[in-house]
């Protein structure tokens, strides 16, 4: 694989690679060249349906297909898939527990120039609040391939959160991912950084910076936010004494909240959150926006020291 690849591209590739499974039907809403489901269409045109610019309808149509034994991937930008079509996802897919996989691309502020209207920063909070919904936010192409496969193998609704921006590989072909389990990338004993999506790369950079200062850092890729891996969180709380979370999402209701929910009730230790702090995004170059909103290795380092000082 090349050095940098967007998880939406990895999604299109994985979906196409697994397309031999004839149960798979792919729906898109006039964004197939951006969500990359067009790759699937080229190989399996008879199982790809463009539903036009009508995301609510697409989600309910996906539900109907799923009642007939199909494994349906319904794709749009995260803001429309999780935001505009929330109630269809909730009532048509979530409540009847249907086998629909929502491939939501262009999540987060790394959408860049399109600006706040197109930058979903609340989608994880919305989706994980639906009973029975699985939520996965993969960090790189390897993790995405795992997520697509896991989504197909798991019966029930799954929300896949994917990005527009090309991101470096933080895993390799030997990484063993497990559904519902966080992936330990680096062990350590002083502080744990729990990250997902494109923030995993910055978590690893932050770990390197902290190590230079003699701080021993544990890094976990929490690709699956729901069901969350309680065990790995409690173990981190007990063994490292404090936690920093890092996500490209509002800190209200996302990964940080999910981790804090476990820590508070099971083994209270300081949890500091790196994420978007109750603000909308804006237009700009993706990397400039990540900097502007504090989604950086430096900010993770700062929060790590704050967390450790609370001990």
């Amino acid at each position: 694989m090349s050095d940098k690849i967007a998880t939406r591209v990895a999604y299109g590739e994985a979906l196409t690679a697994m397309g031999e499974d004839e149960r798979i039907i792919v729906l898109d809403s006039d964004l197939s060249k951006s969500t990359m489901t067009d790759m699937f269409r080229k190989k399996y045109p008879e199982r790809h349906f463009n539903m036009g610019i009508a995301e609510g309808n697409m989600m309910s149509v996906a539900a109907g297909l799923a009642t007939c034994g199909k494994v349906v991937f319904a794709s749009s930008f995260a803001i429309f898939a999780a935001g505009r079509a929330f109630e269809q996802v909730r009532n048509s897919i979530g409540y009847p527990n249907l086998n629909v996989k929502i491939g939501a691309t262009h999540a987060g502020i790394s959408v860049g120039e399109d600006g706040a209207s197109h930058q979903a920063i609340e989608d994880i909070a919305l989706m994980r609040s639906i009973p029975g919904m699985t939520v996965i936010s993969p960090s790189d192409a390897y993790c995405t391939a795992f997520a697509v496969k896991a989504a197909i193998e798991h019966f029930g609704p799954v929300y896949l959160r994917l990005g527009r921006l090309a991101v470096p590989l933080v895993h390799d072909e030997n990484t063993r991912f497990e559904f519902g389990k966080g992936t330990l990338i680096k062990d350590g004993s002083d502080v744990t950084i729990i990250a997902n999506g494109l923030m995993v790369q910055y978590a690893l950079e932050a770990a390197k910076l902290l190590e230079e200062d003699g701080v021993n850092v544990r890094v976990i890729d929490m690709h699956t936010i729901k069901p969350i891996d309680r065990e790995i969180i409690i173990k981190a709380a007990k063994e490292t004494g404090c936690i920093v979370t890092a996500e490209e999402h509002t800190i209200i209701g996302g990964l940080g909240s999910a981790v804090a929910e476990v820590v508070c009730s099971e083994y209270p230790v300081p949890v500091k959150m790196v994420g978007i702090e109750d603000k909308f995004g804006k237009s700009g170059k993706p990397n400039e926006l990540l900097e502007l909103y504090g989604l950086t290795a430096e900010n993770i380092v700062k929060k790590a020291y704050e967390a450790m000082q609370m001990l």
Binding site: A54, S60, V61, A63, G64, T67, C68, Q88, Y95
Partner: protein, 280 residues
């Protein structure tokens, strides 16, 4: 249709109407008005038309029915119970905490329910998905849909309509229960969806208009719909809200209000009297 058959369907429909009254009466809430207006269509579909088997309610080749106006769960349940999908006595547990008969149709708890509905227009879209699956799998089943006229105010109805015509879903047969009333009053006064037939025609559907309480017209329209190729089917069924119970007919107030004990008894007596008149 033979007279004997019409009489039998009339009797079945009256029994289904009794089920609606018993269920909503026992629940103390629910939606009798729109349930009663679509009852004759339900009786025709489940007792004359649809390829279904109560012993195997999830058979992949069965015809499907989606109650897109999910608040009319009472008539769907009463029809399924009449057909033998579950005991009729259970209708009196509608909406109760310990019951499997949810206030709006639940496909995972109620045998014979093909789609969970309740949020308007979503059922129609789900039916589009079922019809599309039928095309992908080259199956010959039909997907029937019960919709409300007030429901047409939901934008998603028109998204679904575009998709159904675009993919030429001629295995989709929708009924609009055109009783002219919604919760807040006349549909033309609340938010006018008319002209209904012309709108669906413009969206590329094959449209027929019928009397929703005439079994011969219902059958003729369904048979005709099945002959059409390349277009989804809309049957605009002119109906009377609250049909079959004199004091509920044409009253918007009975959209979402359950009969009290005395009203329940009066309604059941009327329906029993009607059934007796059919047997003479």
């Amino acid at each position: 249709m033979e007279q004997k058959e019409i009489l039998a369907l009339k009797k079945t429909a009256a029994n289904i109407r009794k089920g609606v009254i018993i269920a909503t009466g026992a629940a103390g809430s629910g939606h009798p008005g729109g349930s009663l207006s679509i009852t004759d269509i339900m009786a025709y579909l489940y007792f004359k038309e649809m390829r279904i088997n109560k012993e195997d309610p999830r058979h992949p080749d069965r015809d499907r029915f989606v109650m897109s106006k999910g608040h009319c769960a009472p008539v769907l349940y009463a029809t399924l119970a009449e057909k033998g999908f579950f005991p009729k006595e259970d209708l009196a547990t509608l909406r109760k905490t310990e019951s499997y008969l949810e206030g709006h149709p639940n496909m995972n708890s109620v045998p014979g329910v093909d789609m969970s509905t309740g949020s308007l227009a979503q059922g129609m879209s789900a039916a589009v998905g079922m019809a599309l699956a039928g095309k992908v799998d080259k199956k010959d089943y039909y997907v029937f849909v019960g919709m409300g006229d007030g429901e047409l105010e939901e934008g998603q109805v028109w998204e679904a309509s575009m998709a159904a015509a675009h993919y030429k879903l001629d295995n989709l047969i929708c009924f609009v229960d055109y009783n002219g009333l919604q919760i807040d009053g006349k549909i033309t006064e609340v938010m006018n969806p008319e002209p209904i037939a012309e709108k669906f025609e413009a969206f590329g559907w094959y449209v027929q208009s019928i009397d929703a309480h005439d079994f011969e017209q219902i059958e003729k329209a369904v048979k005709n719909a099945k002959k059409q190729k390349g277009k989804p089917n809309m049957i605009v069924a002119h109906s009377t809200k609250g049909k079959g119970v004199s004091f509920m007919e044409n009253q918007a107030g009975w959209h979402g209000k359950a009969p009290k004990q005395e009203e329940r008894d009066r309604a059941l007596a009327e329906l029993d009297e009607y059934i007796a008149s059919l047997e003479v």
